[in-house]
Amino acid sequence: MTPIDPVEAAAPGLTADEPLGEPATARAYRRLRALPTFVLWGLVAIWSLPTLGMLVSSFRPEDEVKTSGWWTVVADRSLTLANYDAVFSTSGTDAPNMWGHFLNSMAITIPATLIPLAFAAFAAYAFAWMDFPFRKGIFVFVVGLLVVPLQMSLVPLLQLSTGGAHISAFGETFTLFPDLDLAGKPTSVWLTHIAFGMPLAIFLLHNYIAGLPADLMEAARIDGADHPTIFWRLVLPLSVPALAAFAIFQFLWVWNDYLVASTFLGTSQDAAPMTVRLATLSGSRGQDWHLLTAAAFVSIALPVAVFFGLQRYFVRGLLAGSVKG
């Protein structure tokens, strides 16, 4: 909608080759309009270069990766799949191959994403639409937990999953939490992730769910719905964007996690997710770090795909989740 000043359009001095209604100002304006595009794509280039570098390197033979810059492929393109072969071959150890670790990652990530999603949704709904004592207080407390550093929670939780929790009283030992011997099993990993993901989940979902129109709930109540029904039939379907947004967050976080997985799985390599496998790839003394190029690319492929897939929701969900009031 370029503003065309009729006076100027009709003004004398308009040379013939200038189409009417396209005065100098308008053209300048149009060029100016294109400027953001250039700047933006400049930034995009800067942002993508590092990743591109790794991608290219992953196709280069070891000695070249270690001795010349990846951009030199433009000059001599000697590309190979060797790195990928190395990564996908079980590489000696009788641990499962990359595909196996991929499944392990799945086995951890899926429950660690879905279950907190459900639980957080329950809680968020309760905080938003139910009435009970200390509602505000509890919610605020939960939000506060967002900032607890996780590193220190690891050991207590590991102890819990290995030995349970016991207290001694009246000369007897009572078990507060059973000795389930979960350490080394994927279960312990995603259980931990559920706990760690919960505050953000509740925070995001609450902001969204609390934003749903009140009279929808009332209409439903009058139509004969009780809280569970309202939750399943109204709130869940209406909250898809927020759910997807959190799902992506949690998925990325869990999929990319190394610390929790390696701590809880400890010596059991067979259950190790990809990130843990990557850490061992580069050899006892890191001499094989060129393999990481391929491996890293393999490991980011899925999350990136997931992100691109659910992006639309992501934005909507986060928006509603954040911009409230």
Partner: protein, 447 residues
């Protein structure tokens, strides 16, 4: 393939099961309205199971399910008796479901939070007052050692800040800015226009420069955390905002935004490899394999060991996090910008405001809430930063941050006491933020 199947089955069963329990629990309390007796019996049984288990001094399932089942039976019995003798009026019976429902909805989430975060947090605080492995109490000793450790916190040559060139530049800019504002004089009754672009921009520049000056002078993990917070938060937000604003008017918006966001999807192991190819260093003479050095040397510079040379090496690590977080800020902010009502912008256009003015005077104010969210979230993330430093330098070359120091102490040095202390320090650093968050949640009100 079989494993994929078992995995999926397992997941389905788990999710189905947990949700099933939730549904069942709701169903039970609903019974209170119609069949109070049955409700009472079932509820009794449900409560009985854990009580029975807890009562088993041998451990929950020692001696089979005897104790839990026993508890269930006893509980059921009690429930039956209660129903028999304390049958409430239908009036009150009808209210029972609503009384228990919040508990049912909250229990799963809160139980996980309690076990996973609250208990460990409390334990950490406790440990921070105990000795190496928590054997005995040492009072504030840990805090004294930690804060006394010059690697953690040191004010030596803080004076150097004010003699540094950066500081002078900052000062000059500040003076100029103030002069500009004052000379420009009062603006249409708005008094001295401190909210305008010029003062704000110059002020923030001054701030950034000053922190840089501090960076040049001050050593210590805690300071590093501060620098991380300032730069990551600042740049991620500003860049995110800029990109969001640009993308709003540029071609190929969604693609561009996706590419900018992509780093968020990359694990830190991946990131470390990626950035190895940027910062890698080869002594002069050899071919550079790092992009940065490639460019640098190409421009005729001496190859630099970017992530080794203090004090600026931290900046290069910091940029990695900026690279990751900008996408996050951008997504939120661009969403917010699109949320700004068109009438507002058009009204401003009619009033003859320039694009810049519109952005500054209309768009920015109306996306303030989002900005606040972005900034607070970023700060929290940055304060807890760990992985990048871990994979890039393992905290060597003076790049360590609190979280790393904590890991170092607690896991490698096996100094649980000191590790916990650092964790507590992190809490404390975050507290004001928490308060702010809380206040904000309060203001928005729990709908």
């Amino acid at each position: 393939m079989a494993r994929l199947l078992t995995t999926l089955l397992q997941v389905v069963a788990l999710v189905g099961g947990t949700i099933g329990l939730f549904v069942a629990a709701n169903a039970v309390v609903d019974l209170a309205r119609t069949r109070f007796t049955l409700y009472s019996v079932l509820a009794g049984a449900v409560v009985g199971v854990p009580v029975g288990a807890l009562a088993n001094s041998g451990g929950w399932f020692k001696g089979g399910a005897l104790w839990p089942v026993g508890g269930a039976i006893v509980g059921a019995g009690i429930g039956a008796l209660r129903a028999r003798f304390r049958q409430p009026s239908p009036e009150r019976a009808r209210r029972i479901p609503d009384r228990w429902r919040p508990a049912i909805f909250l229990f799963p989430a809160l139980s996980f939070l309690f076990v996973g975060l609250v208990v460990p947090a409390v334990r950490t605080i406790y440990l921070s007052f105990r000795s190496r492995r928590g054997e005995e109490s040492v009072g504030l000793e840990n805090y004294r050692t930690i804060l006394g450790d010059s690697d953690v916190f040191s004010l030596d040559n803080a004076g150097a800040i004010f003699s540094s060139r950066l500081f002078l530049i900052a000062a000059v800019i500040l003076v100029v800015a103030v002069a500009y504002v004052v000379l420009r004089g009062p603006v249409r009754g708005r008094g001295l226009d401190a909210g305008g672009p010029v003062p704000v921009v110059s002020l923030s520049t001054t701030g950034a420069l000053f922190v840089l000056a501090m960076m040049g002078a001050l050593r210590g993990v805690i300071w590093n955390n501060l620098f991380w917070v300032v730069f990551v938060t600042g740049f991620s937000t500003v860049l995110g905002l800029a990109i969001a604003a640009l993308a709003d008017r540029a071609a190929g918006e969604s693609v561009a935004k996706s590419l900018i966001f992509m780093p968020m999807a990359i694990s830190f192991v991946g990131a470390s490899v990626i950035w190895r190819f940027v910062y890698a260093f080869v002594p002069a003479g050899g071919d550079q394999i790092g992009l940065l050095n490639g460019v640098w040397v190409g421009a005729g510079g001496e190859p630099q060991a970017w992530i080794q040379n203090r004090p600026w090496n931290s900046l290069f690590l910091i940029f990695i996090l900026i690279w990751i977080q900008t996408g996050f800020a951008m997504v939120l902010l661009s969403a917010a910008i699109k949320g700004v009502p068109h009438e507002l912008v058009e009204a401003a256009q009619v009033d003859g405001a320039s694009e810049g003015q519109i952005f500054w005077r209309v768009t920015l104010p109306s996306i303030r809430p989002t900005l606040v969210v972005v900034v607070t979230t970023l700060i929290v993330t940055v304060l807890k930063v760990y992985d990048i430093v871990k994979v890039m330098t393992n905290g060597e070359f003076g790049t360590s941050v609190i979280a790393n120091q904590m890991f170092q102490e607690a896991f490698i040095g096996r100094e649980l006491g000191k590790g916990s202390t650092l964790a507590v320090l992190l809490f404390i650093a975050v507290l004001p933020l928490m308060a702010f968050n809380v206040a904000r949640v309060r203001r928005e009100g729990v709908a």
